[in-house]
Every structure is written in C-alpha cells, then in structure tokens.
Amino acid sequence: MLPAYPYLILSAVLFTTGTLGVLIRRNPIIMFMSIELMLNAANLAFITFARYQQSMDGHVFVFIVMTVAAAEVAVGLGIIVAIFRLRGNINVDELDEMKG
C-alpha cells in the first residue's frame, strides 16, 4: 500500500484550501462549503491514520464528524435562507450593521 504521506498531504491541501476559502470568499454558501471542505480534510486524516495504525478508532471518529457536519449544514442553510428572505441578497460584506 502507499505510504501515509500522500494522503496526509492531500488532507493538508484540502484543509488549507478550505481555510483560504473561508477567509477570502464573500458568499456565505461558498464559505460554508469551504468549512465542509476543512471538515472532510479532517475525515481524510482520520481515516489515513486509522489505516496506518491498524485501529478502528479513526473510522468511528469519521462517523461522528460526518454527523456533526450534517447537523451544521441543516442549521447553517436555515440561517442563510432566513437572511435571504429578509434582505434579498447574501454577501458577508454587506452584513456590516455592526462594526466588527
């Protein structure tokens, strides 16, 4: 089997891409997609480590992370829809009634 590090490098790349996506993009749906990317990068890392340590723990953790991600999606999209209903557009930069 392949050594571990290609998977880990892929995972790191995904994580970095996700982080940059959150920091740079202005559309909340895209931002959330990037966050999902980060979560899945972690999933990949978990599975890789579990495989190479021959333990089942990592696989179980992936289930947990996926469940949490699903719950987050439900709530997050709900919030986005609510904002869209009120304002008609969604752009994070326009959410500036309160100065950060």
Partner: protein
Amino acid sequence: MTIPVSAADWIVINTELILVGTAMIVLLLDAFNRRISDRISPWITLVGVVGGLVSLGFLWGQEYTGFAGMLVIDSFSVLVKMAILFGTGLAVLLSVDYLRREELAQGEYYGLLLLSTVGMLLLTSSANLIMIFLSLEMLSIALYVLTGYARMRPRSQEAGMKYFLLGSFSAAILVYGVALIYGALGTVDLAGVAEALTAPGILSNPVLLAGAGLVLVGLGFKVAAVPFQMWTPDVYEGAPSPVTAFMSVSTKAAAFAALTRVLVFAFSDLSGVWMAVIWAIAALTMIFGNLVAIAQNNIKRMLAYSSIAHAGYILVAVASANQLGIQSIPFYLIAYTFMNIGAWAVVTVITRKGEEGVGLSDYTGLFWRNPLLAVSMGLFMFSLAGIPPTAGFTAKIYLFMAAVNANLIGLLIVAVVTTIISAYFYLRVTVIMFMHRPSEVSAVHVPIAAYVAIIIAVVATLWLFLFPNSTQAFTEAVWRMGL
C-alpha cells in the same frame, strides 16, 4: 453482541439525561399544543434545570468515569456544571418576558436552550478529544439558531450568520487538530494523550505540535481570547439579550473547563510550549478587552468586551497551572455567572421592544427612576471590576494568589493595571446611572421573573463574597482531577 453499559455510565450522564428529557418534553409539547406550550414551557424548563442542579448535589464530592473514559465526573466538573446550570436557569427567567415582548416563539427557544446546555454539560465532563468536539458542536449549533432567533431583526440575523461562520470555522480547525494528534499519538483520550506524551522524543514531533496548536486555536475561538475574538462583540450585540447572557457565561464556563483539562492534564508535558503562549494570549486579551471597552457607547458591546477581558483573567489562572490556579477557575466561573447575568438582566429589562435603548445614555439617572435596578447594576459593575465587597473581588484574589504562587509577576502586573483601566468604564456606568438626572422620570417596568433573576444574582454576588467556602473546601480535591 451487546454493548456493555455499566451503572457508572448512567451516573455520569445523570444531569444531561434530565435536561435532555426536559428538552424532549418541551419540544413535544410545543409540537402538539402551541398555546399551552407558550405559557408553561419556561416553567417546565426551570423544573428541568433545578432537577439538574439537584442531581449534581448528589454527585457532590464523588468521582466517576463512564463510557470507556470518555466522560468523567469529578469535583471540578460538578462545580462548573453548577455554574452552567445557574446560567441557564437565570437566562430562562430573563427570557420569559423578553420573548413575549419581542413576540417570538417560546417552545422551540427553550428546547434549544436546554439542548445547548446539554452540550455544555457534556463538554465539562469530556475526557476525550472527540467528545470535546462533539459536545462543542452540540452546544454551538443550538446557539447559532438562538443567536439568530429574532428573525425579523437584521442585527440578530447578522449575528447569527457571523457566529455560525466563526463557530463552524473554529470547529473545523479543532477537529483537524484532533486528527493530527490522533495521528501522532494514536489516541484521543486525554489520559492516553498525557501518557503518550511521556514517551521520549515525542515532544518534537511536528505533527503533534501542529495538532496541539490547532486544538488550542479551536478552543481559543470558543473562549473568545485574542486574537480569536473578532466578531464576538457583534454576536453579543446582535443576539437577543437573554441569549447573550446565556452565551457569555455558560459557554465560557464549559469552554474553559475543556481548555483546562486539555492544557493542564493532557498537555502537561508540553507545558514548556503552551505556558508561554497562554501567557501572551492572556496578557493580550486582558489589555485588548479592557482598552476597547472604554470606547463603547452601547452597553451590550461594552459588556461584550468586558467578557473578553474576563476570559483573559481566567486564562491567567490557566497559565498558573498550579493547585491554586485550578481551584480558582470554578469559583471565578460561578462568580462570573452571577455577576454577568445580573448585568445582562438589567440590560434586558431596560431595553425596549426591538432592542431599542441599548445605548449608555439610556441609563441616565436610573437611580432616580428605579433605585433597585440602579443599585443592582452598580453592584454588578463593581463586582465585574473586582472591588470589594463583591464576589468578583474574591474571584480576583484567588486569581492573583495563583499568579503569584506560580511566579507570574509580569502577568500579575498586567492584570492589576487592566483592572484599574476596567474600573473606569464600569464606574462610568454608575456615574451615568446615579449622578445624572434623567430627562423623563418614567418608571421602568420590571417583569417579575426578571426581578427574581436580579435578586438571585445580587444575593449570590454578596453571598459568594461573605462565604466563599461553599465552593472552596470542595475544590481542594480538584488537583487530582481524575480523568
């Protein structure tokens, strides 16, 4: 194949079960009969919270480990759980009339509140990194909804969105860090991590250090320490006031419990690395929170920055990492719960419909309009500033003793100087309330539930000052902090 479930497992999640049960009842009731649920769901929630507190009373002074070491009950967690439940209970009292005033749905609100509390309670007991992640998310997701609960108000929505993005981002960072630690050490159990770190040469593993750093970052976001505090003031300002009250105390309590366990026990061998980092973060947080609070004209934002500053003070205790420091954290959290929710209670009462009236100028001459509110707010301000005879003072004393004991004199000086700075803006509120005359002498209507909450907070603030031992003799056992 059966999954073994021992008695200890049930005991460990005692409190959480009670609250989950209450949440189910509230949600089901709301589904079936809206009208009745609107009237009685707050009280059902309160019964649940009180039941939780009672169950904690039974756990006083005992230690249990459950679910294969994922959850733990010890004196530290029992105390912090009490702080969380007090926070929840007081927030419920505040929400009763607030929701009616803002015409928001009641049943789901309390259900979410309870479920968020369950997440916090689990976080306090977590002895496993994945459990930390899970309970953190449980707590946060409910809070995202609660923050944006006032759907028709743009600021609430904005706060909800910002909190959601920030929170998910930090959770993703946290879980990636957990993955890295898992990879480097082969375990995510805190006790296992502590043991694995004693292996020779492991401390220079870059994967491990990266993982530890990311976990720290993730938790740092939750605690609102600098430099992870962006958007926290916006979230506090935009969210409905009772939700902010709840968030500012209970989330902090749970997050600090987790942070303490992770840093002081799991990463105790890495202490050479993280102590300096925490030192710097604590100092920056105290300075930033207190300085920026001075410039605020909106009382919600002022309290938000004060929250950030107090997180800095608690970080000083974490940085001390000695017995006194660990003992002082639950006490500080309990004292902080009461004084902060007390302040937010007054804010909730004074705010008018649609969250109008949150400027500092709306408090002008409050003493002449409603002396009880003004005196209570004054007491909370003095307590937050750490001036005797209040619980806030006792909490700071513990903190200072811990810092001196750990020889963190520099940090102590920063804490002292920032306390002086904070006295200025806390005092300013009292100046506005007491020493200026109001333009109109209209009475302030205070709903009974809020009254009760304020009285409880006042009594607790004074009680904890006069008799701090009620929490203290207890935490002497904390140092062992069994995992």
